[in-house]
């Protein structure tokens, strides 16, 4: 990143000098040609297929001082090609004239968006060089400071600049986004001298003769030694092409390559440096014939893999892992199990064998059930592999496990690779899993030249199969004869911090011998502290206080980090710290951020026929509307059954709309003019930000760090929008669906990372302990050091692996899981402690919200005297929670509360507000499963009304209902019909030929409000009891019949007949559950309904966000603060 930024600064300086010298930046071709002339470089156009271009678009021949460029394309294209090649010249490139590896791309983003394939295949070092040149070129022709001035001061839109320059909109827009949204930091060229190796590091670097494991604790110069090892090998005359360096992150690989490049740039290019996964992908591409996969396979992410399986699910006939309502979670859990199997190189067949073996030896009922479950996973695994093959796709797990199987099977391939790579080096060896170890074993033969470095105490990737088990085996079962060596000198931390680390380390499960480190730094004279506050909310204030103290002591905000145990707490903590005036650098879940939701809501206006996105746009200055106006528009569009885009014409003529509201609608109409449901999301949002509104300009000039963070997250969103997987359907709809799925499957993780350009802002870094791995900070704050928070208790895996799958595990699968979990929790804490250079602050509360005593974490107790406990009284009162502020609603006295709304209110009051008071429900894109459930609902309602139960009638009715949706054309329509028929069969069987019944709504008065309940079926049993039924097509939910909604139903039924019975019917799992409650439960349920009515009148609708349910909520993209004004319900 810094190299790219440096290159851009050189380019910007040259631009300014050129303008000084009289060049006209508005004529890019003349500008570039003049610049070449100034540099004494001849430039010549040539045919785009000229032999001299060698397939590239342009080439720089340094020893001829000549740039050749393709002469087709616009003037700007040519200017860009010349500028790109000038970059090679200006940034001192000897590699200028090798075949270009990447297409020259004027609109290139400085960073690849971390989704899909880009997650695995980062740019190679040489490719990064080309990326750098593209950005150099863009900066030379239109430097950020210039476009920024044009946009901010001269108020030129991106479109206007592009037109005057003759450049594509995309190029100018990308440059403006960089200029306005990302901080531009002046980077001084860094001192690029490596510290010489110390004695123990040198000994490690020069090792020869047998496999070697270097145990390198935090701050001991692990990467330095690894780079030193490579330098040593090069000095020994080893051909750099024969060196393979494997890492676990693209970032680490990039850093190693850059560091080698400082001393030997050519070798850095020749050495294969990359992650296990990208190396695996490289092998798969090279040997794709042997593996029978396409040369360029498509890499599935979790969302795509889920979609692939979901389609197949009705055919799999599962019983333990059955969910025919919404199988997303089950599929995702099974995919996790499959991915774990691949970590262990257990393919679908091997998995089936293991599961069968479990079945054969099972004796108890539990063992049988466990075996059956494993069999079901095996079945899905087989189907999944088949589907992937058909689609020519691979998943992440395949990238290592396929090459392992191939290498183990084919001697010739093994031989080829063993002669190709004579020296193999592995970074972060504690993170290897079985499949990576087997890859190494196959690659290295006798492993004489295998050199690995790691630290068992920092093993925090259990979820992908890493286990200290692999470290234990090094030199014994794995790579026998291997030697171990330990670095002891710590350069990072003061003795006070190291004492804490040592105190904890010696009691860790993975500790092995003396794990202490020798400090190289002098004592700072200040012990690490545990600041004990009263309550959890006090902790935040205590952190803010400590951050302030450290500022007084001369540290910047940017020198400090707050590390949390999990993601859940982060965003709340971030907001609270900001409210206390502490600048915080933290993105969190990208799609939860208000400014990102604002833009997705704008996009949704192009596809959503109810334009609920207005709820967000109405809160912006440019399109300000009152809540009442928004409600009127939504209401009107519903009444006229509007179609997507109709609001452009209907919007301003909504009855009762205020003049301001009408004006906002027409402004919004203009802001989206020319776009439709078919438009590309990136283009819509870029145009909206840069051409139709001043959003980006305003963010760029806002002074506060919170506004800067907004800019950064919008930049991240734009980077995400640029590359979307191709697929069927309209691009915007597909995008919005994909976002919902990403969040639901928690696959948006990498989008939480800050773009590199943001890393230098002076703000406190807020991240998880996981995320802090490999980083260091002067000051580290660790909140939440209470029992229950740390260590977290172990949760059993949703789909446990079959016995015998996990190498080195005991047969007690769950016991093994727990053991690994406990180890990992310790490692996490150790990682967190060892991030600190100068000081550590830990925080714990002493009572919980209810006032009961809260103990400190057992981990803290292990630290003994190394930690001084300081009872702390925070300087201020903690802030309250914003989302609890009441909404200004007026609910009329005759407002009818729908019975099913009660359950919704209990789950999320805010969702109740959106669906019942604003009525923004409406259908989203439906999966085949949802369509099937709709069809079943239609048919059972018809069966109740007509009293029909004849199978032929059911079959005909289902056929008709299927035909009404696109389900009839689905490839597996027969399977869906079979499922639906089965559900209806159950329904008619329990209805037992009762006479037809027209549903009648029952009314219940609660707390002065009407609650209406409409039973799905009512009849009198043979015993003479009146039975009221609620029919659900999905499966049983635990305790649903005890919740306030069910109680209200029961109360309404008892009003009709005191002896009435209420039953909940679940068609998916064929279950009948009577609402059978004690008097106490009945009373408590009634109270809740009562309270709810008061809360609705009082406008209390706090949101209860959850990754699981929010993505399915109709208000997912609009949920948040509401437009100003009062809402009159049921006007």
């Amino acid at each position: 990143m810094d190299r790219i930024e440096l290159g851009r600064q050189v380019a910007a300086d040259r631009h300014d000098a050129a303008v000084q010298a009289g060049s006209d930046p508005w004529n890019p071709l003349a500008f570039a040609l003049a610049e070449a002339q100034r540099l004494n470089i001849a430039t010549e156009p040539t045919a785009s297929n000229a032999a001299s271009l060698n397939g590239a678009r342009a080439v720089f021949v340094p020893d001829a001082s000549l740039i050749l460029y393709a002469r087709d394309g616009s003037e700007f294209d040519r200017a860009f090609l010349i500028a790109h090649e000038l970059g090679h010249r200006c940034l001192g490139d000897s590699e200028g004239n090798v075949a270009e590896l990447l297409e020259i791309d004027p609109a290139r983003s400085a960073e690849a968006s971390p989704t899909g394939m880009a997650r695995v295949v980062d740019y190679s070092r040489r490719e990064r060089r080309e990326v750098q040149m593209d950005l150099f070129a863009r900066e030379l022709l239109l430097p950020r400071h210039w476009v920024r001035r044009l946009h901010v001061e001269d108020r030129m839109s991106a479109g206007a600049i592009a037109q005057r320059l003759g450049a594509p909109f995309e190029v100018v827009a990308q440059q403006l986004l960089d200029a306005l949204l990302l901080p531009i930091v002046d980077i001084a060229a860094e001192e690029s001298v490596e510290r010489p190796l110390n004695e123990e590091q040198a000994e490690a670097a020069q090792h020869a003769g047998c496999p070697y494991l270097l145990e390198a604790g935090p701050g001991t110069g692990k990467t330095r030694t690894l780079v030193g090892r490579i330098e040593h090998l090069l000095e020994q005359g080893v051909d750099p092409r024969k060196i393979l360096v494997l890492t676990f992150s693209n970032k680490a690989a990039g850093e190693i390559a850059e560091r080698i490049a400082r001393s030997s740039p050519e070798a850095a290019t020749a050495i294969w440096t990359g992650t296990f996964h990208s190396f695996g992908l490289d092998l798969i591409r090279r040997f794709h014939d042997q593996l029978k996969v396409p040369a360029d396979p498509w890499l599935l992410d979790r969302v795509e893999a889920t979609e692939l399986l979901e389609n197949e699910f009705p055919r799999l006939d599962l019983s333990h892992y059955r969910d025919i309502y919404d199988p997303t979670d089950i599929i995702s859990n099974i995919l996790t199990a499959i991915s774990r199997a691949k970590d262990e190189v257990v393919d679908a067949l091997a998995y089936t064998v293991l599961a069968n073996r479990m079945g054969n030896v099972a004796s108890t009922a539990e063992e049988h059930e466990a075996a059956e479950k494993a069999m079901e996973v095996a079945k899905v695994y087989q189907a999944y592999e088949r589907l992937k093959r058909q689609a020519g796709a691979l998943d992440f797990g395949d990238l290592v496990s396929l090459p392992v199987l191939m290498l183990e099977e084919h001697e010739s391939v093994r031989h080829t690779l063993r002669t190709t790579y004579e020296h193999v080096l592995v970074d972060e060896y504690q993170d290897v899993n079985r499949s990576s170890v087997r890859l190494l074993a196959a690659l290295c033969g006798d492993a004489r030249n295998l050199w690995v470095v790691g630290d068992a105490k920092q093993s925090i990737y259990r979820f992908r199969g890493a286990s200290s088990f692999n470290l234990d085996r090094f030199g014994r079962e794995d790579f026998p004869g291997g030697k171990r060596f330990r670095l002891r000198k710590n350069y990072r931390s003061v003795p006070e911090v190291l004492n804490i680390c040592a105190a904890f380390a010696k009691q860790m499960i993975v500790a092995d011998g003396d794990v202490s480190l020798e400090p190289e730094r002098a004592s700072a004279g200040r012990a690490s502290e545990l600041r004990r506050v009263k309550t959890g909310p006090d902790e935040v204030v205590a952190i803010a206080d400590a951050v302030g103290e450290m500022r007084q002591a001369g540290y910047r905000f940017g020198d400090q980090a707050v590390l949390c145990t999990g993601n859940e707490r982060l965003s709340k903590l971030g907001h609270q710290l900001e409210a206390l005036g502490i600048p915080v650098l933290f993105l969190g879940n990208l799609f939860e951020r208000p400014e990102v939701k604002d833009l997705l809501a704008v996009l949704s206006l192009l596809v959503d026929r109810r334009v609920t996105g207005l709820l967000r746009t109405a809160r912006t200055d440019a399109f300000s509307m009152t809540l009442d106006d928004v409600a009127r528009v939504i209401d009107h569009l519903r009444q006229v059954d509007a179609q997507p885009g109709d609001w452009h014409t209907l919007g301003a003529s909504v009855p009762g709309l205020s003049p301001d509201g009408a004006e906002a609608i027409s402004k919004l109409d203009q802001a989206l003019a020319g776009f439709s449901a078919e438009s590309r999301p990136w283009e819509v949002v870029a145009t909206f930000l840069l051409d139709r509104t001043r959003t980006a300009a305003e963010l760029a000039t806002a002074p506060s760090l919170a506004e800067r963070s907004k800019g950064i997250s919008i930049w991240q969103l734009m980077n995400f929008l640029r590359v979307q997987p191709a697929g069927r359907g309209l691009p915007i709809t597909r995008l919005l669906d994909r976002v919902r799925r990403l969040v639901r499957l928690r696959d948006d993780h990498d989008l939480r990372q800050l773009p590199a350009a943001a890393q230098r802002l002076d703000a406190v870094r807020l991240m998880t302990m996981h995320g802090a791995k490999g980083l260091e900070f002067a000051i580290v704050h660790l909140p939440g050091m209470n029992v229950g928070t740390l260590p977290k208790s172990s949760r059993s895996p949703a789909c446990p692996p079959p016995v015998g799958m996990v190498a080195g595990a005991i047969d007690d699968v769950l016991g093994n899981h727990k053991k690994e979990h406990d180890k990992e929790q310790e490692c996490l804490f150790y990682v967190a402690l060892s991030r600190a250079r100068d000081r550590l602050f830990l925080y714990a509360a002493s009572v919980n919200a209810g006032g009961a005593k809260r103990d400190v974490s057992p981990f803290i107790k292990r630290l003994g005297n190394a930690l001084s406990v300081v009872p702390t009284k925070p300087s201020r009162e903690p802030h309250g929670d914003l989302s609890d502020t009441p909404i200004d609603v007026v609910v009329p006295d005759d407002f009818r509360l729908e019975g099913h709304g009660i359950g919704l209110y209990q789950a999320c009051p805010r969702r109740f507000f959106y669906t019942h008071l604003l009525q923004i429900g409406g259908k989203r894109t439906q999966t085949a499963f949802m369509q099937m459930h709709d069809a079943v609902r239609t048919v059972y309602q018809l069966a109740v009304k007509t009293g029909e139960s004849n199978p032929d009638w059911v079959s005909a009715a289902l056929k008709e209902a299927f035909a009404a949706s696109s389900l009839a054309e689905h490839g597996y329509v027969k399977d869906y019909r079979a499922l639906a028929t089965k559900m209806m069969g159950f329904f008619t069987s329990i209805r037992m030929g009762q006479p037809p019944h027209e549903p009648v709504t029952l009314t219940l008065w609660v707390n002065g409000a009407q609650v209406s309940v409409t039973p799905d079926d009512v009849f009198v049993s043979p015993e003479g009891e009146q039975i009221f039924r609620r029919v659900q097509t999905r499966q049983t939910r635990k305790d649903e019949t005890k919740n306030p909604g069910a109680i209200a139903f029961l109360a309404a039924a008892r009003q009709v007949s005191p002896q009435a019975r209420v039953e909940f019917i679940y068609l998916s799992d064929e279950n009948v559950v009577p609402v059978d409650v004690t008097d106490k439960q009945f009373a408590s349920g009634s109270t809740k309904v009562n309270d709810m009515v008061s809360q609705v009148h009082a406008g209390l609708f706090p949101a209860e966000p959850s990754d699981r349910s929010c993505p399915g909520c109709p208000a997912f993209f609009v949920c948040g603060e509401l437009p100003p004004g009062r809402l009159l319900v049921g006007r």
Binding site: A42, A47, S52, E95, T416
Partner: protein, 189 residues
């Protein structure tokens, strides 16, 4: 120093390195190195047979041999006409002006990217004169396999384009007008 001609080994190695070992390539070599005709024919048959046997990837030893042979070959060849092979930017511009052609055309000569038979003899004489070589040395040099602009380090690079092109094509690619091209193709002073 009298520049030495490529030896039989050099020529055979270069031949083996050709991207395509079809009849045309063989004929070109036979034409350019009539002295080695018998050896070239035998060798081409041997290569053809060994290719049938296995398309084994080159091992480290092979690759090292090929690399060093190519380097040796090119060095030897370059020594024949050092002033052209190592021509710097200034000289390149001078020669371009002398020939009234764009720099890229001279660059193609330097990199042996032109089909020598397609160049008007007059032009060859001007070049030979400029670089202080005999016409025969220049012709032999230009008949060498095309040099790629830079030998890159990594083995998995895209294969370079090794096709030679005609003088006329070079002029057309450089975007000269028809009349200009016609004038340059006339083989009279």
């Amino acid at each position: 120093m009298v520049p030495s001609m490529p030896t039989l080994d050099d020529v055979l190695e270069a031949f083996a390195m050709e991207p395509s070992l079809d009849r045309n390539t063989l004929q070109r070599y036979l034409r350019d190195y009539p002295d080695f005709a018998t050896a070239l024919i035998d060798y081409s048959q041997e290569i053809f047979q060994s290719q049938q046997e296995a398309d084994r990837p080159l091992d480290a030893h092979d690759r090292a041999r090929v690399d060093s042979a190519l380097a040796r070959f090119q060095t030897v060849a370059a020594q024949a006409v050092p002033a052209l092979a190592q021509m710097n930017a200034g000289k390149l511009g001078e020669l371009a002006r002398l020939l009234t052609v764009p720099h890229q055309v001279v660059l193609a000569f330097r990199e042996c990217g032109v089909i020598v038979n397609s160049v008007p003899r007059r032009k060859l004489i001007v070049i030979a004169d400029f670089v202080g070589a005999s016409l025969q040395d220049l012709t032999s040099y230009l008949s060498l396999p095309k040099r790629s602009l830079a030998r890159s380090f990594k083995s998995d690079d895209k294969p370079s384009n090794t096709e030679k092109v005609t003088f006329e094509r070079l002029l057309r690619d450089a975007g000269l007008a028809d009349g200009e091209i016609e004038r340059l193709l006339v083989d009279e002073p």
